[in-house]
Amino acid sequence: MSRHDEHEDVRRALHDAVDDVEPRPGIHTIRARTAQPHRDRRPWLLGAFGAAVATAAVVAGVAVLGNDPSPRADRDPAATTSPDTSPTPSTGTAGTGEPAPSPSDGGSDGSSDEVVAAPVYLAGDTPQGVRLYREFRPVAADDRLRAAANLAVRGDPVDPDYRTLWPAGAELSTVSFDGVGSSGLISVTLASPSLRERPAGMSEAQAGLAVQQVVYTLQGVVGARAPVQFRLDGNPVDQVLGVPTSEPITNAPQPEVLAQVNVTEPEQGAEASGRLLVSGVADSFEATVPLQVRRGGVVVLQGFATAQGWGGRLYPWTTTLDISGLPPGDYTLVASTDDPSGGEGGGPQVDTKDFTIPG
């Protein structure tokens, strides 16, 4: 790139400014908006509302996706840019303004049925122990904080590999966010005093991770690393599941609590054909994220994605796999971390998503 060397500084400044900005995938929304309703060739978008909505990709478009695939040409850009900003603090970019917990989008249409995608952190097993995985779920925009936190706590994940660490019946009654950005405070009220105590059979580590499920989920929804104050009857509660919580809880370092590879797309149970868009986050050796497509345990396709970085935190990665040569059927995408040790530290971490190529 040396055609305009005299302005190399400008080129570099512009690239530095935006090159590490990872936009949320927009293909779902674009497909939905360009789909021809009468042909309905994309049933996974027009039909399965839940599945379609559950990705970060459709945050801005979900209100439309549910029942009306027509273009949103009449949309006022001012109305849709503010509250819909990304709920994913672990995939990196610059600040945009997110007046997050507000249900109002400044538009004229009522927002009561507006749905946004919220990151929900759930537990899953890795060779290095239990870690948290993120999946995106649709929640009502005007109740996004409480709804997302309760999805994490109740644990009814789309991906069957995930689960909650909270005891059955656990519930959070109110969640609020006050202040600005990471200097704000997220408040969570327990629905029952029984959640103070650590249930029999739950380890201290599990309890800590359970609390982090809520911390990461809510920080993701508000879009800021604000600490979380747990409360009971309006007052700070001294402990949650036996974890001291008199003071607001901050997020634990990512390498200690988050799975090192996490697939965002395809979503569990998605249908796909032609090109499979694969995206996620990872912290993997030399930023390499090995990918496999398996059918009945047999590897039918291999590839890899390159994350935007590695070491110390998760970095976004995305790629497309050409699956046009694969016959219709049920497949599993397997993303893993690279393991140069040859399994010494327990082996690579993986995240899997089942998808179907329709016949």
Binding site: D9, T81, G92, G95, T96, G97, A224, R225, P316
Partner: protein, 177 residues
């Protein structure tokens, strides 16, 4: 006689999305300074491109159209910005962590904001020419076509824009790195 397009609109959207989604969002980001808006702008551009496919017919022309649409739509989005910002302030003005922001209030982020702020302060044409020239590396002819101006105008916007950007950043070349 009519020549049938080699690919249909849906396929072209998928291919151009796979190859250019990120760079187009980043292009728009340089023009609007807000990732959420940039994503909207580029989605809109793809939808518009799909709607015009019968006239575009070729991926190359579709890409040129996309770039043009992104620049034009970024410009209109910017006009709406004042409204959005007022709204955001009313709602508490939560700074977003679209990503690393929340985790890393880093030097890199500060520098990025400085560049985006500087871009925003430039006259519209200078900003657009700089982004197309030095981010997308388009030729002067391509830029002239995309913006509907002469190549002479592209040249002068580019050199004035570059000087103004350096000025705004209050730096010499070393500091820009």
């Amino acid at each position: 006689m009519t020549v049938r397009p080699l690919v249909d609109a849906d396929t072209c959207v998928e291919q151009l999305y796979a190859a250019h989604w990120r760079s187009l969002v980043r292009l728009s980001l340089l023009l609007v300074h807000d990732v959420g808006t940039a994503e909207e702008v580029v989605q809109d551009a793809f939808v518009a491109m799909h709607g015009r496919w019968s006239r575009l017919r070729e991926p190359d022309r579709a890409l040129a159209y996309l770039r043009q649409a992104v620049v034009n739509r970024s410009r209109s989005a910017l006009r709406h910005r004042a409204v959005v910002e007022r709204h955001a302030r009313r709602e508490g003005g939560l700074a977003v962590a679209h990503g690393a922001g929340a985790d890393d209030a880093s030097l890199a982020a500060a520098r990025r904001d400085a560049v985006l702020d500087a871009m925003r302060a430039l006259p519209t044409r200078q900003r657009e020419v700089l982004a197309l020239r030095y981010y997308l590396d388009l030729s002067e002819v391509e830029i002239a076509e995309a913006l509907g101006i002469s190549t002479g105008a592209v040249k002068s916007h580019a050199s004035r824009g570059a000087a103004a950007l350096r000025d705004r950043l209050g730096t010499d070349r070393e500091d820009l790195r």
